[in-house]
């Protein structure tokens, strides 16, 4: 029983179906929910669920909104290869929370469109006591962005 970092497989299908739109302002809204270390969220996760989601003081089920200030971008590396990428434009922050059960994963999901799952990101197990938990995003570029679609 463990969470596993992965892009959700259903998300790949939903990109082809036009059900996941990261365009700033006109696109969908996304949220970030935290999950206990005993959970099993991974590539097979298809949507947000309350099962094994953390709970505690000042944490609202469903998590917090993801700030999307920059639309997906793309660049070509050659005639046959390129990268499209996207990263939330601000840290994901849970303020003044108490989360006593260890958690080690965040699920990014589309709360405009049926809570469809995007990706699971794992980190070392944490608890928070009357404190703040912050997830800082990687640099939004072709090599480090949180989500990258790449051809080679």
């Amino acid at each position: 029983m463990a969470n596993t970092q992965a892009m959700c497989t259903s998300f790949l299908q939903e990109l082809m179906q036009g059900l996941q739109n990261f365009t700033t302002s006109t696109g969908n809204s996304f949220k970030a929910a935290l999950y206990e270390a005993t959970a099993t969220y991974n590539a097979s996760t298809t949507a947000y669920a309350v099962t094994n989601e953390v709970s505690g003081t000042n944490y609202t089920a469903g998590g917090v909104a993801v700030t999307n200030g920059t639309s997906p971008q793309s660049t070509n590396a050659s005639a046959t290869a390129g990268v499209a990428y996207w990263t939330p434009s601000a840290s994901i922050t849970y303020t003044n929370v108490t989360l006593t059960t260890a958690f080690d994963a965040v699920l990014i999901y589309n709360n405009t469109n049926s809570n469809r799952a995007v990706s699971v990101h794992t980190f070392g197990s944490q608890t928070i006591t009357a404190g703040t938990f912050t997830l800082t995003m990687p640099t939004n570029n072709t090599t480090s962005a949180l989500l990258r679609l790449s051809t080679t």
Partner: protein, 64 residues
């Protein structure tokens, strides 16, 4: 005087024992801070910087 939000409300940092730590792996850089009062942890915060991006590989098949 710096004040710290704790399980007992706002407390002066000078009254608390502070513990800090860092975890650095290929996947994350994490810093955490704890404040203790009379042997009881009254505050713990953590700051995780994600390092590892998720990459989807895409391909277009050759026709013919």
């Amino acid at each position: 005087m710096a004040m710290v939000f704790t399980t007992k409300g706002e407390m002066d940092e000078s009254l608390l024992e502070k513990k800090e730590g860092v975890v650095d792996t290929d996947n994350e850089h994490t810093t955490w801070v704890e404040y203790w009062h009379n042997g009881e942890m009254v505050h713990r915060s953590a700051h995780v910087t994600l390092k590892k991006a998720l990459v989807l590989s895409a391909a277009a098949a050759k026709i013919g």
